[in-house]
Amino acid sequence: MNPNLRALLLAFVVLATSIPSVAKSIRPEPETSTDVLLNHAFEEIAGQRFTAALGDIEALLRIRPNFRLAHLIKGDLLLAKVRPLATLGDAPNAPADRIVDLREEAVARLRAHRQRPAEGQIPRYLLQLLPEQKYAIVVDTGRSRLYLFQNEGGTPRFVEDYYISSGKRGAVKLREGDEKTPIGVYHVTSSLPRKKLSDFYGNGAFPINYPNEWDRRQGRNGSGIWLHGTPSNTYSRPPRASNGCVVLSNPDLDALTKFLQIGLTPVIISEAVEWLSTEDWNAERKTFLNAIEKWRGDWESRDTDRYLDHYARNFASKDENLAAWSRHKRQVNSSKSWIKVGVSNVSLFRSPGKEDMMVVTFDQDYRSNNLSNVMKKRQYWLNEGGRWRIVYEGAA
């Protein structure tokens, strides 16, 4: 074996073997996907088949000519023919931060390829989709991955996943300019085509509704959080690169674009996605649908105390705190001889993050002896010591 390749091999093997493969995973990636080809090259290197590895990398560069990580590995494989390499990305005079970025991208991509979510696992967040929500997106900023799910009769089925970049300073956005990606339950609000954007955003952009109702309640600010593409001078950006946006490669963005429904497609962003078995997912879903049903029944009962027991101490609507809300509801309910509340088209998401929170959106059909009203409503429920209570309620 060419001694020049020993150190390189070591660097790659350490990288490669530190990421064990998971046996059975959901749906394999397409053979031509970037990560499959990249992983193949790494396997060739680990198997000391360097010529084959170079061939793999060159094949990858033919379809992804601006893929910087592949160029880095190609440089290593070529230079190793001439002199010993100390490390992965052993370019002379290389800016250390860029090498670190590319190494992190390599790790993120290899890990995503080797540790695919297990078959039958569902992200904890997608508890119930509306029938018209054909797809849902779950982003894992920790793993630099975006997962696309299809709504199959209410059950999310994994479709595809993509490498993403997120905020330079990580996740949990609080303030404008903090260069962090928000964590929470959002949806796509509009579509900005390429021709309306600078090259920086690549093939298009899809803004999401950060800050949502809960973010505002928490005093979080900032704006302009988008899913968007990549500038034309690179295939992808490092895992931590954006000012808070979720960035995809242009081919991936193009693929994703076909599935996005403006105003509908949920985008749940987590720092570390929690996956549930179908049974656990079903149990969570039922528990929570029961809580909503209880709230609905208690409202219909006109027992205002029972109804108000569903609201948290720190509840607030757009313009009322719990005291004002309670006063208002007691007054309204006293004039009713009957109330009928219909709840339909329920979408239900668990919000990622520190708080144990659900976001529920539904069509509310309110009828009573003196008033009827149909509206789309959104509630945020917080788990307080084992009891789910509403912390926010308002029109959606």
Binding site: H71, G75, K81, V82, A91, A94, R98
Partner: protein
């Protein structure tokens, strides 16, 4: 590292015996003009020379060199490129084509040409050196793309130094290809047959490489082949040859090592000579270091033109240790003992 690519100045692979004295004179005269920097005149003369023998490889090669010196890069590329098509077995045109491509910044093409050069002639040291430079350049281009470094300045420098190299490359003494023996186009490599034949401008060329390699290995091997007469081989010569063979092997001097094998060497598995040589080259070059020592060398039979020699062989590399008995059947070729058969055991 700045690539300094070397032009092969001569086609060593051409059998000089195929040229008449007049032709040899012509070629040498043109060579002289090139060295004196009289490129225009040299070009006229080489065109005259080629008028009557348009396929002549030596003349076309010289023409390519002259064009390269005149910085007529496209024309030079054309000449060398056609030479590689007409004489795909010659490594030098591939090498020079690569140098010209590299000068244009077409490093990928340069790499392909050099890899071809080495494929046709695995021991071609110039191509190896050039390929190292091209790999380095390609690696640096890849790194630049990976890291978004602006290397436009260094790229310009590289190009300039290449131009200088092109000029100096043909004025320096000709380099011998590592094996150093002329081979007729299309003819299988014959390691030793014409080993002592000088290259075309014999006044400047060194003795064939294997002679030199053998001379460098050990005092025991100092008796260079050309110093030996055609007289019948002695047992002492056979034993010295075995030591020199082991020394070349231990030095990982593959060319010198392979030169110890007779033209009719019986390859161990009956494979073609080329495949066997390639395999040996890989096996010898792969370890970081090799130790080979032989002792108890005994000449079992000898009749002046063939000999059977047995000895203990002790082999150490960074990966393998092996001790074994070995027997070499040697034959006398051009005044040298060469290995015709090699087998493990006594």
């Amino acid at each position: 590292m700045r690539p300094a690519l070397r032009l092969a100045a001569l086609i060593l692979g051409l059998s000089l015996s195929a040229l008449t004295h007049a032709q040899t004179d012509d070629i040498q005269n043109i060579n002289r003009l090139v060295k004196q920097g009289q490129h225009a005149q040299a070009l006229d003369r080489v065109n005259q020379y080629l008028a009557t023998r348009p396929r002549d490889a030596q003349g076309r090669f010289l023409k390519g060199l002259i064009l390269a010196e005149q910085n007529k890069v496209a024309d030079a590329i054309d000449v060398f490129s056609k030479l590689t098509q007409d004489y795909p077995e010659l490594p030098e045109p591939y090498n020079n084509l690569a140098v010209l491509y590299a000068g244009q910044g077409q490093y990928e093409k340069a790499r392909q040409s050099l890899e071809m050069s080495i494929r046709t002639h695995p021991s071609y040291a110039t191509a190896y050196e050039n390929l190292g430079d091209v790999y380095t350049k390609l690696a640096s281009q890849s790194y630049d793309k990976a890291l978004q470094l602006d290397s436009s300045n260094t790229a310009a420098k590289t190009k300039l130094s290449l131009v200088r190299e092109l000029i100096s490359g043909v004025t320096r003494p000709p380099r011998l290809s590592a094996r150093g023996e002329p081979v007729k186009p299309g003819e299988a490599a014959r390691p030793t047959a014409i080993a002592a034949a000088p290259a075309s401008n014999s006044t400047e060329s060194k003795p064939a490489v294997e002679t030199k390699a053998a001379a460098e290995t050990k005092p025991a091997a100092a008796k260079a082949p050309e110093a030996q007469s055609e007289k019948a081989g002695t047992p002492e010569d056979a034993i010295k040859t075995v030591h020199a063979w082991a020394a070349a092997w231990a030095k990982k001097d593959v060319d010198a090592y392979l030169a110890f094998y007779a033209p009719d060497f019986k390859t161990p598995k009956g494979e073609p000579r080329g495949a066997w040589e390639k395999g040996r080259r890989q096996r010898i070059l792969a370890p970081k270091h090799i130790e080979v020592s032989v002792d108890a060398v005994k000449v079992k039979t000898i009749d002046g033109s063939s000999a059977t020699v047995s000895f203990r062989q002790r082999y150490r590399s960074d990966t393998i240790k092996a001790d074994s008995g070995k027997t070499l059947v040697m034959v006398r070729v051009s005044g040298k003992w060469l290995i015709q058969q090699e087998r493990v055991g006594n």
